[in-house]
Each structure stands twice: as structure tokens, then as C-alpha cells.
Amino acid sequence: MTTTEQNIDQILIPILEQVSDPEIPVLSIMDMGVVRTAVIENDIVKVQITPTYSGCPAMDVIGDDIKAALKAEGYKSEIELILAPAWTTDWITPRGRKALEDYGIAAPLSAEADISVLLEGKRLVKCTNCGSTNTRLVSQFGSTACKAQFQCDDCQEPFDYFKCLK
């Protein structure tokens, strides 16, 4: 339980990759890193998922969507929500980061850079529209718990930044 390793049965990966985060539909839950375990035991798929933020309202939907996707492939499943080890933005895969950027959400910076943009007003977050880093923080909180609001001062595009969580 305390390991940061994932334990996912190879044959389940294509099924789980079809399930997306309901609030960020371009991002599969596999690329998000929220699936920690998926193994078949006695014909039942045991899945462990971990929330990005404690109050993330997407977790119930993700659990239901996983069940439905597995059922469509003929599997029964049990979903368990686990808290340890706590989720971190480091678990978002490179493909996941690219999907976020394409969707218009800037991917998380390193922990140090994250603090300097959120607290010290540094201009490091890349605009998802024009690529400029001449961007400023509008609000430390955004439309979901995991995001902050930014605006580009070059092209004026308002966009979300996925906050670093470690």
C-alpha cells in the first residue's frame, strides 16, 4: 500500500485507457495516474484509484465509468478508493501533459517554479494559445480544485494552469 508503483494487468490497460476524466475529457485516467492497481482475482477485477484532491467530485464518476467500461468487456469489478500514497502531478504521463496542453490547460511546472508563479508573480507559465510566457496569475484557484486561472498578456487568452501537487 505504501508503494508508489502501479500494479496494472496488461490486458486491462486498453480498457482503462478508454475512461477519461469527466472534467478534462481529453485526458485518460491512465495518463492522469489515478489508477494504482487493476488486477484480476477470481474473475473479478480489483481496481484501486486515488483522488487528485480530497474533494474531487470526479472520483465517484470515474469509479462508475471504470465499472461500466470493464462490464462492456465482460468483467465484473470492485473499485476501491485509496489515499496513500497521496497522488502527485508527477504521475501525469508525458502523453497526459501533452493532452492537457492541447486542450488549453497549461501542464504543471516543477515545484519551485510553481511557487514562484503562484506566490511571487513570476511569468513562467506558457500560454496554451500562443506559447508566450508573458502570462500572469488571475486567481490562485480555478474552475476545479486542481487548477489556477492565468491570462496571457501577449495574445490576451485566458487559460487554466494545472497546479503542481507534490
Partner: protein, 251 residues
């Protein structure tokens, strides 16, 4: 109940987050600006998420048919054991931020210790919550500074808020019987040991914000024993309305 002290101990932690989360949630659509409105409801959501983990665990320990919702929605006023600080109303934005700040400083110190708990569920919840609460504290500290070291009017409003809420801070460090029992089992946090670090941190931010540290030595207490200020009853009538009007309703 076999583990009654642990059950009570969990409620002592979780009720603070539930009531503060409800207060922040009242600002949904009513914040002073869109960004602060969203910030307050984001923090509310984090707190409710943490509360669910605590109450689910408490329900499991109770071992009867009660659920997290029963614990959250169906107790009487005297059965809530949150500190008086968190039930204080959103008098104005300075009060909302001062209340948040005075609680966040405590909350973070508390969770840092709870992480070391021998109880693996509590330590996991603490570990998860710390990341969220550190962010809350940064946000509320920032507003203490912006308003405290802002205009003459904002400074006065923040000073009034700090003066008004100061009387509720000492209660954070009072131990209940469940506290003492859980500390002896290396499950709970000895809150009396957090007091010095708390006031050091709070005073440093107040000084940086050009605010006076209140001198009053008289403090209110009672919340941890279920003796609340007049405000909690109104809050609960809102919080519990749906479950009382439509018993057992679910989403």
C-alpha cells in the same frame, strides 16, 4: 462502542472541517469577486473531501448501520464538537479571511503531527490534506497582508476581524478526554504542544501586515464540549435541511 475514544477523536478533527466548509460554501455565488468566490468554494470542497474520509472512517469504527451522511447531517447541535472559531459567520470578507487564516495556521500544524499517527488511516488522510491546507494557508495569509497593509479602510476592517475572532483562538489548544486517550496511544496529536508555534506564526504574519496583535487574555471556549455560540444552530438548519425534510434521500 469498542473504540469510542477513537470515534470521538475523529469527530473532533472532522467537525471543524465540516463547519468551516459549510461557512465557506455559503459564499457560493456571493463572494466579493468571482475569483475570491471560486477560491472560497474550492477550499470548501477540499475540506468536505477531507471530512468524507474522516466520517467514512468513523462510521466504520462505529460498526453499526450509520453512514458518513448520518454523522454529518443527523446529529443535534450539542453533538457537534467543532471549535467556536469555525462557526463564526461571514460578517464581511475580512472576517472570512481572518477566520480562515486563524484556522489554517492551526490546521497545518495539526496535520503535520497527525501524519506521524500510529493509525494508518488518520496518517494517510493527514498526508493527503496537508498539500491542500498549505495552499489554503498561503491564500489566507496573502489576504491578511493585502487587507492589513492595504488602505486605511481595509486595514481597519482586518484589524476589527482579528480583534473580534482572537477570543476563539485559545480553544484550539484545549484537550478533550478523547484527545488525552488518543495521545497516550500515539494515535492523537497533543494540541497543547502546538500553541507556541501557532502564536509565533500568527503574530509574524500580523506584524508583517502592520496589524496589532490583540492583547486580550480572555478567551471563549465550549465548542469542543458541544456548547456553541448562537451561530451554529442557524448553520445546521441550513446544512441539515434536505435530510430532515426528505429523510434518507441520496444524490
Amino acid at each position: 462502542m469498542k473504540n469510542e475514544n477513537l470515534y470521538k477523536y475523529i469527530l473532533g478533527i472532522a467537525d471543524n472541517s465540516l463547519i468551516l466548509g459549510q461557512r465557506l460554501g455559503e459564499l457560493t455565488g456571493h463572494g466579493p469577486s468571482l475569483e475570491t468566490d471560486i477560491a472560497c468554494t474550492n477550499m470548501s470542497l477540499d475540506l468536505f473531501g477531507q471530512v468524507r474520509s474522516y466520517y467514512q472512517y468513523a462510521a466504520k469504527i462505529a460498526g453499526d448501520n450509520r453512514t458518513e451522511d448520518d454523522i454529518a447531517m443527523l446529529r443535534k447541535e450539542r453533538e457537534y464538537v467543532n471549535v467556536l472559531l469555525v462557526e463564526q459567520p461571514n460578517t464581511n470578507f475580512a472576517y472570512t479571511m481572518a477566520r480562515q487564516f486563524l484556522f489554517d495556521v492551526y490546521h497545518l500544524l495539526f496535520l503535520q503531527e497527525l501524519q506521524k499517527s500510529k493509525d494508518l488511516t488518520l496518517s494517510a488522510i493527514a498526508n493527503k490534506s496537508i498539500k491542500e491546507v498549505s495552499y489554503h494557508l498561503r491564500f489566507s495569509s496573502d489576504w491578511i497582508k493585502r487587507l492589513g497593509d492595504g488602505t486605511e479602510v481595509s486595514h481597519q476592517k482586518m484589524q476589527d476581524a482579528i480583534d473580534g475572532l482572537w477570543t476563539y483562538t485559545d480553544e484550539l489548544f484545549h484537550q478533550t478526554e478523547a484527545d488525552i486517550a488518543m495521545v497516550s496511544e500515539v494515535i492523537g496529536v497533543d494540541v497543547t504542544k502546538l500553541k507556541e508555534a501557532y502564536y509565533n506564526k500568527v503574530n509574524a504574519v500580523l506584524e508583517e501586515s502592520t496589524l496589532q496583535i490583540p492583547e486580550s487574555k480572555w478567551f471563549q471556549k465550549g465548542g469542543k464540549k458541544g456548547i456553541h455560540t448562537e451561530h451554529l444552530g442557524y448553520l445546521l438548519s441550513d446544512l441539515q435541511y434536505m435530510q430532515r425534510a426528505y429523510p434518507n434521500m441520496e444524490w
